[in-house]
Amino acid sequence: MKNIIYSFLGTTLDSHRRESMRWSFWRPSVALAMQDDLHFDEFHIWYQERSQGLFDIIAKDIQACSPDTTVIPELLELRDPWDFEEVYGKLYDFCRLQKFIPEENNYYIHITTGTHVAQICLFLLNESHHLPGKLIQTQPSHGSNSTQGKYTIIDLDLSRYDLLAKRFAVERQNDLAFLKSGIETRNPEFNALIETIERVAVRSREPILLTGPTGAGKSHLARKIYELKRLNRQISGNFVDVNCATLRGDHAMATLFGHTRGAFTGAVKDRPGLLKTADGGILFLDEIAELGTDEQAMLLRAIEEKTFLPLGSDQETGSSFQLICGTNRNLTEAVSAGKFRDDLFQRINLWSFRLPGLSERREDIEPNIEYELEQFSRKHGQHISFNKEAWQIFLDFASRHDWHGNFRELNAVITRLGTLAPGGRIDVATVRAEWQRNRPTTLADRDRLLERFLGADYASRHDTFALVQLKEVLHICASSKNLSDAGRKLFAVSRLAKKSRNDADRLARYLANYGIQFADIAQYHTVN
């Protein structure tokens, strides 16, 4: 491992009016070469041609103090060493030309010499890894070692400092808890997911895509990400939440990108549009798959170039926002079907996270119930709790329930329980009532099918024996694409043994017995 240092020639600190007396004073560049416990194989010095004389003295003196150090001159002409743009640019170019090999060499960057602007630039280049290594700072000291002074090594990798690392760990835990709304989730996959999202949220301004079943908490998480970034002072703008399914036609364009007065009928005044409102903040586009193709194209341009054209305007407007998209649809399929632009998909698919449904993380149901209960209590200013037996019954029910509507459904269940709880105490009766209410939903739907196709008095005209079969047949038909599809499902076992397969016929004939046509069922299904 070679030790290599980069340092500016200190035109003030390294020079001394009386050359003969120079060894009696602290000169940072030379002092670095005097350290007992530090040795550099290469000492690169940035200097300007007009300081050649001083450079020669310093190079000679470094060599005297440290004979096995090679001093390497690095001419760097700066018109104005206090001009940030120039200094940063020149140093940046310098770094680009160097072949840094951090695995083979230890790099050090001396920040005591050079202007403060140069220090800032070195710091930035180091932080962005353009100039690898540790920062080193020198200072004079008193007593017998005054010419040698002292030095301090500063490693900008904050995780190397125990106290800071501890603090950051606590803050990170707080961030995670924040994203999880303080719910102590136990599902390891979900916790790992949130950790990744936190890291991305804190470090990146690129688009984030949240997928997962309806009610999984996409919109809630998007808002939490926004709040976290605001707390960390990473953004200052608004959180704009739009459901793309609600945007249609001209209205959609205008809502998103804004319009000028008179751009269309009814446009009585200028409107900035949601993208503009989200400037400096976060734009959350939920159900992104529902966005129209024109809007998709405009949006892509708005993300990539941060500019767009409001409706009716001939002047582009700019907005810098972070985009978060949500969808419960499979976007890859939408792209294949030509319904979603591939380029937009690629752009928003950079950080893609799938939020699992509640049934995929059953261990988290309990803490979420507690959370919902607390939220309900807070909202209604009344403390709501389960009695012990009711809690057991409810938990048992909750752990077996499929939770199709996920958090939205859980929220509804708790709201009902909380509202109906006698005296703020949820008892067994309330839970049982809720359970009953939940169980027959699907059965009731099926009864409704019989009613629709046989008439309201169906029970009095048909045997229960026949109705039981018909109910299930209708139900399967309702969830099938066509007659053949339904036939395949209904005769799945017997069709294996047959040569000719006329399941569709067989089903059509069965339905005809009750005066029902498959098309009617399909139509009923789409309407409802």
Binding site: S20, V30, Q35, D36, H39, A64, C65, T69, Q148
Partner: protein, 339 residues
Amino acid sequence: MITIDGSFGEGGGQILRTSLSLSAITGQPLHIENIRANRKKPGLMRQHLACVKAVAEICHGELDGAELNSQALTLKPGMIQGGDYRFIIGSAGSTLLLAQAILPVLLFADRPSRVVLEGGTHTMQAPIFDFFERVYLPCLHKMGLEIEVSMERAGFYPAGGGMVVLSVKPARVWRQLSLIERGELQEARVTALGSGLDQSILTDELKIFQAGLAGVLPWQALARDVESSGSGNVLFAELAYENLTELFSVCGRYGLSRKSVAKSAISLVKQYIGQGWVVGQHLADQLMLPLALGAGGNYLTGRPTLHAESNRQVIRRFLDVKVDFKKMSDSLCEMEVQK
């Protein structure tokens, strides 16, 4: 393999240098740990590393852990080879401390050596060249050794750049050395050495020194300007007796007044004379190893220092010799090395 605890006794560079020399001379592999463990900056500093590498080069040794700030080191010595060497020490490290480490080794080489040492010649916390030349070497000469030293250029802290040439012939005979009496005082001389300094600094130091010791001894004073790459100043007093010469030096530096330099030198001289020592503390530390390597001997000195105690321990680990401190009075002690 002999393992030495580097934090024992004085716990610094001395224990390291003595161990390195003895390992090379006896051919015993050395493992030294806790190097300078209790110092503010523990482990090998640049000047120590220079010693380690120099000894290893001379004895064709294999090194492990020879890195800056390393706290553990292993040396597997090979054959000691004389000849021409050149060692450069950065950071104005003392060429004399390096000389002290390699000189005993070169006494056991296959042929005479000529070593060029570049670095500091007059630095703090190390013997100055004049001490090495006029105090230490004459003692070795008395023991029958053939060693020459010359200074081509002075090197002060912090610029260094000094050059010392050391010529060593392999030891052929070892004579006992006994320094129990100083003998007649032949000369008392005080020198103010300077480089790149105002002459008045030197003359003032001499004046103050002489005034402080007026009536004790008649001093010959000498202001000497030497060439060097940096500036520097040393005030040293030499007492040449019939049996030995002793020398006491104080390094001047920026921020230390001429008066303080002179006063420190005065107190060193007064201490030596007043305590009745024959061999001063620094010389006592340095003589122990040659005596143990050679035919033994004895000398009258002050109470053993930490340096002396750690030297004794290290020597006894490598060599079958008896090293005794016999207390003569509160301030006097006889040091005896017996083969």
